[in-house]
Symmetry: C2
Subunit: 91 residues, 2 copies
């Protein structure tokens, strides 16, 4: 692995793992109040295009980062949609 | 511009712009309650490494996406730190 790979891997790890504390905080609070529905809808859609870009370039840090981030950001989006629909949270 | 460039550009635009509605929502509410401080601290640090990766690969979609995202995510991190310090918000 080259130095370039390491910087991409570190960027991938940090930006991906960053969504874990947010998902845990929202789960613990049983609320996604303050979180923007539009942010997560745009972000998750964007991740799908990044993933496609990674596959087309065959860049494994981009593929790895975006598929993991998609899981966590997708979970937050799912929670937000549920709270907007069932708990009358603001979007 | 190739098809590959377009997918990267679209991913970049969507994931970058996604932070704008979150920043506006937090500004409007005058609160970042519900937002995880640790998420934004890790995310902003990760963006700096992604930016370095983009420069080393000379991939302009990665450079463009991450520098813009850094501005918006950095603004949200700044607001969160301010509200934790001054308004006793939970981190």
């Amino acid at each position: 692995m080259t130095f370039i790979d390491y910087t991409g891997l570190l960027g991938a790890l940090l930006t991906t793992l960053s969504f874990v504390p947010q998902a845990l905080k929202s789960l613990r609070q049983g609320s996604t109040e303050g979180i923007s529905l539009l942010m997560y809808a745009l972000f998750v859609t964007g991740l799908i295009f990044w993933l496609l870009y990674g596959f087309l370039l065959m860049s494994w840090p981009i593929i790895l980062a975006n598929s993991c981030t998609l899981v966590f950001a997708g979970a937050i989006l799912g929670m937000k949609i549920r709270h907007v629909l069932h708990d009358h949270e603001k979007p």
